[in-house]
């Protein structure tokens, strides 16, 4: 029972925050509401026996990614857009489509899935950070390396796309790149988007 209450509390917060993000006129509010959404999902992760993922959710998403969002919004001064409507039929069409998708999903979930299946309590020894770490560095070593490549792309890409014309920032750039190459530790990658904001 308490598990159900826990679930519904955070599920409602998550959905409410998402709806709020969708309709907020101010981009800053939207970003803050999204952080609320992420945080409540992180709580659900905790109840699903995924403490490591829950913490990563808070640090990477809520901590790093959303800070970067807020930073860019404030940097550009793009909290609000002047009202304009290029596609008058876009709004009703979009809503209809989203509902159709939802209906299809509900149809699948409610009528097709064995809905009686419930989740057992998390086993104590399941998905500890140690287990995840050993899996990451054994079975999943290869994709782990691929993520490092992906972060390399992201770091250099962000620098290339926002660099100032000319070679004024070249020295800073070189040092950033060498740092980025060294990026291997998972927690560290959360900070890389932050690093590049100095160049913006």
């Amino acid at each position: 029972m308490s598990a159900l209450i826990f679930f519904f509390t955070f599920a409602l917060i998550a959905v409410g925050a998402a709806v709020g993000m969708l309709f907020s006129r101010n981009a800053i509010y939207a970003a803050l509401l999204l952080i609320v959404n992420f945080a409540s999902v992180a709580f659900l992760y905790l109840s699903l026996g995924a403490p490591f993922i829950a913490l990563a959710q808070v640090t990477v998403y809520a901590g790093a990614i959303m800070v970067l969002f807020l930073f860019v919004i404030m940097l550009l001064g793009a909290e609000r857009l002047p009202p304009s409507q290029e596609l008058p039929w876009q709004r009703p069409l979009g809503i209809v489509l989203a509902f159709l998708l939802l209906i299809e999903a509900v149809y699948g979930i409610v009528f097709r899935v064995n809905s009686a299946a419930t989740l057992s309590l998390p086993v104590v020894e399941f998905a500890t950070p140690a287990e995840i770490g050993s899996a990451l560095f054994s079975t999943y070593l290869l994709p782990f390396e691929i993520t490092s490549v992906l972060l390399l792309v992201a770091v250099v890409g962000a620098i290339v796309l926002t660099r100032a014309e000319g070679g004024a920032r070249r020295r800073a750039l070189v040092s950033q790149i060498t740092q980025a190459v060294a990026t291997e530790v998972p927690e560290h990658k959360a900070e890389t988007p932050e690093e590049e904001k100095e160049l913006v």
Partner: protein, 482 residues
């Protein structure tokens, strides 16, 4: 991971290592030609490793990648195409201002992502390979940081992100029902009646995965981004999007849906039939009166991927051969077309307007002649590579009695012929009096670009006249897994 595993993925390691070397090279000494040489060396080394690696094939390296002759063949194709694109990029960038060297880094990494895709046997490697490719492409498309480039980059970013999200949700659905992300386990879990698996739910997940794949392949109805991105991106990057990105994705599609035998799932099969017919018709109709060359080639590529689906939907040993051979001809032809646009473009814009190619034959007979060859191959005229490729597609389709698809293929090829020939006619039309050279025309193409294009033209005719060696190679390498 054993030593043999590491040996099997050496080409991947070399590609990744080459990107690090390029990065350090830029840091030490920023030189355009040095970067080019490092990049080409990396690609050649990776390519030369493929035959050595194939001794160990087939080998499953962790659950994520499989190095078999199929993935080696497509890796070779991708790396070779990447080599050509790198050379074309040198020709293209040599007249651009600003930093040019990082471009090659992204080319290498996007190639790496594509190679991961063709060897993928697990959702994780699928998703990560796709993202390495996509994120590199965002940067490459917007690399020039001119207005069009950035606009194309943002469009590609948002839409690719959206399609990735669909893909991811599809993977989640499949995982939720089957409890596995390994490709090889999907069909066994699906067909096991005692497992209580809801087939429809899994098929819905597969359908969402098809959305993600269809976006990358620019199949109708996920095609809307194609012309804008083709037009906005620098010509060599457009070539990359049109060839390597699509080729890798198609190789993955063929592998995944051969393992998950689509012939067992009529509704999924039907979905592909609808996509194929829509792509052939809509791609060709959109191209009909288009005058901008890069947009025209975008529409053309939509229909070509539709043609490819015909062989994909056929069964039997010929289908995979037809797909692989058609991809080879499509690579050669598309690279050639974009290569020609590349060597004609100057630093202001890409040569794609009608005035750039009207009467081109009288100014640049060789470029116009090569372009004509490329367009005729795209149209599927005999003695060019495109004809043999299309012939195999049709044969594969007829072999599996896919009459509707084959008829649509033939009819829409007829529509397509119109716009290819329209460009050819424009190139041979006489110039209006007084006009000499269009402003975007480059005076003399860079020799590296000209060399690359010459090789492609020769390949085009070679494949059209003497396709046997390539076909033998494909037959021995591609049919293995299915």
């Amino acid at each position: 991971m054993t030593a043999a595993d590491v040996y099997a993925i050496l080409p991947l390691i070399v590609l990744g290592g080459a990107s690090v070397v390029v990065l350090l090279g830029i840091a030490v000494h920023r030189s355009h030609s040095l970067t080019l040489i490092l990049t080409l060396t990396g690609l050649v080394a990776a390519f030369l490793l493929l035959p050595l690696v194939s001794i160990e094939a087939p080998r499953q390296v962790t659950p994520l990648l499989v190095i078999d002759s199929y993935s080696i063949f497509f890796s070779g194709l991708i790396i070779a195409a990447s080599f050509i694109i790198t050379v074309l990029s040198y020709s293209y960038l040599s007249q651009q201002r600003g930093h040019r060297e990082e471009f090659y880094l992204f080319l290498l990494l996007a190639t790496l992502g594509s190679v991961v895709l063709v060897a993928s046997t697990h959702f994780a490697s699928f998703f990560l390979g796709l993202e390495v490719l996509s994120v590199s492409l965002y940067t490459l498309i917007a690399y020039s940081r001119k207005e069009y480039g950035i606009e194309a980059g943002v469009k590609y970013l948002i839409l690719a992100g959206l399609s990735s999200a669909f893909l991811l949700f599809g993977m989640a659905l499949v995982y939720s029902e089957l409890g596995t992300m390994k490709l090889a386990q999907i069909p066994t879990s699906l067909s096991n009646p005692s497992s209580g698996v809801s087939q429809v739910f899994v098929l819905g997940g597969l359908a969402l995965i098809v959305v993600g794949i269809g976006f990358k392949l620019a199949l109708v109805p996920f095609h809307l981004w194609t012309p804008d991105v083709y037009q906005g991106a620098p010509a060599p990057v457009t070539a990359f999007v049109a060839t390597i990105s699509k080729g890798a994705m198609f190789a993955l599609l063929l592998r995944y849906f051969t393992v998950v035998n689509i012939h067992n799932y009529p509704s999924l099969y039907l979905a592909f039939v609808v996509i194929a017919i829509a792509s052939m018709f809509i791609g060709n109709l959109l191209g009909l009166l288009q005058t901008k060359l890069k947009r025209l080639l975008a529409y053309s590529s939509i229909s070509h991927l539709g043609y490819l689906l015909v062989a994909f939907l056929a069964s039997g040993p010929l289908a995979a051969v037809a797909v692989a051979f058609y991809l080879v001809t499509y690579f050669v032809t598309t690279l050639g077309a974009f290569g020609l646009i590349t060597i004609m473009s100057n630093s202001d814009r890409d040569a794609e307007d009608p005035e750039d190619y009207r009467g081109l034959f009288w100014r640049k007979p060789w470029i116009a002649g090569s372009f004509t060859a490329m367009l005729l191959s795209l149209a599927g005229v005999p003695l060019t590579a495109g004809f043999v490729g299309k012939f195999y597609l049709v044969t594969a389709g007829i072999g599996s009695a896919l009459w509707l698809l084959v008829i649509v293929l033939v009819v829409t090829s007829g529509i397509g012929l119109y716009y290819y020939l329209r460009v050819v006619v424009a190139m041979f039309a006489s110039l209006p009096k007084g006009s000499t050279i269009a402003p975007a025309m480059r005076i003399s193409p860079h020799f590296t670009g000209a060399l690359a294009v010459t090789i492609l033209v020769l390949l085009l005719f070679w494949l059209g006249i003497y396709p046997t060696p390539i076909l033998r190679l494909i037959e021995s390498m591609v049919t293995g897994f299915s």
